[in-house]
């Protein structure tokens, strides 16, 4: 079976160049497409891209993933005539957003039958993806009778991580992995012990920042991180949930806020950038960067002259964010004797008046979903694609995929029936959050406006953090640019008629309970310093 990544391509204008170069540069010959003979449904070449190319080391998967290859192999054995081919994911260089690659692939006709998405937080053009609602209501015949999913595929998933329904009422994605607080923080046990900390901070941000403070008192830099918005994102999630805004935004009630829903919320005034859920996390975050290593403003993971994690690995900081990226090195440098990991903490009211006394619920978001593309439709592969996805999402197979990634990139199981999974207690705790219904899907604040808006937002954050700008000015910049990007979105999706309706909603809508909140310009005071 050919596991090599094959790409359909055609080489143009190659005449006149040296023949040796042709031989050397040409990629494995493009497979001749005998599409005409396919289409009977359950035979043919099924092409898939995974978020991380199987068998390859990437920044996020420092240990290459292999389980999916075994699963595909087993599927092929069960279905003679089927060949599963893994293609490169669309998003593999930092320069491109996944939707851009998706659209490029759609335009060039090179989309695979099944593509990965981030839980469809971006709206794709409807004719490029295939609705899967009807399939989700069919039984998954790979599941033994009586277990969830055997009569209806949809039942396999936990309630709150149901496949996302887009604003048009259709379902397009099959969630495979969901990131909970999947960004693992690693800590140096020796430095922690020196600072008098017996273990990782408890579950809340409060404990995390207090630990940072203790380490800083000792003269050590607490955290290595980059200026990525992980901390901020999660806090916005929590606060949106805590203020009861989530239900207002999520009009189709599927527990997820897609692009249209969020644009609508911005037009209708539900998403407000001068509201506490947006402003407070920024304030807290600025103070939190006091615990970061010098130069965090400049650090980008891919182009810095110091590799990510190096400051931590050379024991110049006590903690590092996104530790899954450096997992193998940590194992080499002393393993679990020397390093421990914990998950991103949660919010309590010790940090803001809008949190809860106990650590709030777990917030999770789609990290890897599968979507059937128009290529499958054109090649008559929809049934085959769906059947493979059913096989892939059985609890047994999902368990294998999840288990493999625990050491590298923590992904939460999204489906039931994984109780026997051999995982560490932290993860078991997260799974039990679903079962106890204390896990909630995120609001995905990073989908308001387009990337351009995010650039504005990010640059303003930098200016604010560098004390070049007050918080008020920063928020004002965001408020100023938001309409432009809403307008662009409406133009792209031809949603002006709907937008007119949304604007009318402003009148009916009672402002959420933040009273006479105004953007504060004084720094946030960490509770233990107050």
């Amino acid at each position: 079976m050919n596991r090599a990544l094959s790409r359909r391509q055609f080489l143009i204008g190659t005449g006149g160049l040296a023949a040796g170069l042709i031989a050397a540069c040409a990629m494995p010959a493009a497979p001749m497409e005998d599409d005409a003979t396919e289409g009977s449904g359950m035979t043919g070449e099924l092409t898939i891209d995974m978020q991380y190319v199987p068998g390859k080391v990437t920044a996020d998967t420092p240990v290459a993933l292999h389980e999916i290859l075994h699963i595909a192999s087993e599927y092929e054995d069960m279905h003679p005539g089927v060949e599963v081919i893994f293609e490169e994911p669309f998003k593999a260089t930092e320069a491109m957003t996944q939707p851009t690659y998706f659209r490029a692939g759609a335009a060039a006709g090179t989309l695979p039958d099944i593509t990965f998405t981030y839980g469809l937080t971006f709206i794709y053009d409807k004719d490029t993806i295939v609705p899967t609602t009807e399939y989700l209501n069919q039984p998954n015949h790979y599941i033994p009778a009586g277990q969830p999913g055997s009569s209806r595929w949809l039942d396999q998933w936990f309630e709150d991580v149901h496949p996302i329904v887009l604003a048009d009422g259709n379902n397009y994605d099959i969630p495979v992995g969901w990131g909970g607080p999947g960004l693992v923080i690693a800590y140096n046990k020796e430095i922690f012990a020196e600072a008098g900390l017996s273990g990782p901070p408890e579950k809340t941000y409060y404990d995390y920042y207090q630990a940072c403070e203790q380490i800083l008192d000792m003269g050590t830099i607490p955290v290595e991180s980059t200026l990525l918005s992980w901390e901020w994102d999660r806090m916005v999630d929590y606060l949106v949930r805590a203020m009861g805004l989530f239900e207002l935004i999520d009009i189709n009630g599927d527990g997820f806020c897609d692009d249209v829903e969020q644009t609508r919320a911005a037009v209708a005034g539900i998403v407000r950038l001068d509201s506490p859920y947006w402003v407070e996390p920024t304030r807290i975050w600025k103070e939190a960067t006091n615990y970061y290593q010098p130069g965090y403003l400049q650090m980008a993971q891919t182009t810095s002259a110091i590799g990510y994690g190096e400051v931590f690995m050379t024991e110049q900081t006590s903690m590092v964010w996104n530790a899954n990226r450096i997992w193998p090195q940590l194992m080499e440098l002393g393993g679990t004797d020397k390093f421990g990991v914990f998950n991103l903490p949660r919010l309590t009211n010790k940090l803001t008046p809008w949190g809860e006394e106990d650590p709030t619920w777990l917030i999770a978001r789609g990290t890897e979903s599968k979507t059937v593309t128009k290529t499958a439709r054109e090649r008559g592969h929809i049934d085959l694609a769906v059947d493979f996805l059913k096989f892939m999402t059985t609890p047994a197979n999902t368990a294998r995929l999840i288990h493999e990634r625990l050491g590298t990139n923590l992904v939460l199981p999204t489906i039931k029936g994984l109780e026997d999974l051999e995982v560490d207690d932290d993860v078991k705790g997260l799974v039990s959050d679903y079962e106890a219904d204390t896990a909630k899907p995120g609001f995905s604040s990073d989908r308001i406006g387009d990337w351009h808006f995010w650039y504005e937002w990010f640059s303003a954050i930098q200016a604010y953090f560098a004390d070049d700008m007050t918080l008020e000015e920063m928020i004002q910049i965001q408020i100023d640019v938001l309409p432009t990007f809403i307008e662009n979105f409406l133009v792209d999706k031809e949603l002006h008629a709907e937008a007119a309706e949304w604007e009318k909603m402003q009148a009916d809508y009672t402002p959420p309970p933040w009273g006479d909140y105004t953007v504060p310009n004084e720094p946030f005071v960490m509770p233990f310093n107050a």
């Binding site: 980008a300 182009t303 002259a305 110091i306 990337w451």
Partner: protein, 319 residues
């Protein structure tokens, strides 16, 4: 058919002349075919395509809606563009200085007495050109590393007891452009040095001897003789630098990605970000076309008010 005597000869001559011209044209066409094929596909078509799409809201693939001159209006009002242009102004000044300053070093080397030392200095000064630019950039990133232990510059300051000067060089909005301009200090190694030196070498030795006879000192000679005689080299460097600077962004992308807080944002980077990270190809195209117009006007102006370096290239080759 019967009266074709002398006329027929003339006619056939004409015909053969025409046929020869036709054959020449055909030959030339075949010679030019590969070049124009490449240029048509990869240069003319993209240029026309991009210019045309400045009038659209366009993501390059599916969204393509005519918006008239809205992109240009957006650009003129875009605060990012204002910041980027201001930064570009600083980069322009700094890089111009960088590219012209090797002239002084070229003079220093040129005025050495022994041919052997001239040869060695010259070779050594151009030697770092073998290092790819990206590598130089990354080494400088190492120099600017923010940590006091592993940053070259910070460590150096530390060993001189100047800890209070240690800083994260590339994440201070007020410092970042200066830090970027100081990359590859003292800026000698590069093609401007080679051009200046070659220019100095072409000054006829009689002129130099005469200047000595007249008792010129070094400074006078440089200002009165060398600079006027190598002025085309300086113009060439200046124009090339200008064209290069306006569209430069890979350097900034690698060093700071325009940050912190847009303090090192340049128009080229804005184009790159809008087009390839923001899916706003139409807006990116608009920035590109504006840069093209700016380059075009500046180049025309410099041709108008200076001697064309290209004209000079041909002349020098003839000699």
């Amino acid at each position: 058919m019967s009266v074709q005597t002398a006329d027929a000869g003339l006619d056939s001559k004409l015909w053969s002349g025409r046929r020869r011209a036709l054959r020449r044209n055909l030959t030339a066409f075949l010679f030019l075919l590969p070049t124009f094929l490449f240029l048509a596909i990869f240069m003319y078509q993209p240029t026309v395509n991009v210019i045309y799409h400045t009038l659209f809201r366009w993501d390059g693939f599916t969204v393509e809606r005519y918006v008239g001159f809205k992109n240009f209006i957006t650009m003129v009002n875009d605060p990012n563009m204002h910041i980027a242009s201001r930064n570009l102004g600083w980069f322009f000044l700094g890089w111009m200085l960088q590219r012209i300053s090797p002239f002084l070093v070229a003079e220093l080397v040129f005025n050495l007495k022994r041919e052997r030392s001239k040869y060695w200095y010259r070779t050594l000064f151009v030697l770092p050109m073998v290092v790819p630019f990206l590598v130089t950039i990354m080494i400088w990133k190492f120099i600017y590393n923010p940590l006091p232990t592993t940053g070259v510059l910070n460590r150096m300051l530390g060993s001189f007891g100047l800890e209070q000067w240690q800083t994260a060089w590339l994440s201070e909005p007020s410092l970042v452009i200066l830090a970027l301009l100081f990359v590859s200090f003292p800026w000698i190694s590069g093609w401007p040095f080679m051009i200046f030196y070659a220019g100095l070498q072409q000054i006829p030795s009689e002129v130099l001897d005469a200047s000595v006879m007249d008792g010129c000192n070094v400074w006078q000679r440089m200002v009165r003789i060398d600079i006027p005689l190598v002025v085309t080299s300086i113009q060439l460097v200046a124009i090339q630098t200008m064209i290069g600077i306006i569209q430069e962004f890979a350097f900034v992308l690698i060093m700071t990605a325009g940050g912190p807080a847009k303090a090192s944002l340049v128009p080229g980077l804005l184009l790159f970000m809008a087009a390839f990270r923001g899916d706003q190809m139409g807006y990116g195209a608009t920035i590109g076309v504006t840069m093209f117009i700016a380059i075009f006007i500046l180049t025309l102006l410099s041709f108008r008010y200076t001697t064309s370096p290209f004209a000079r290239t041909r002349r020098t080759r003839e000699t």
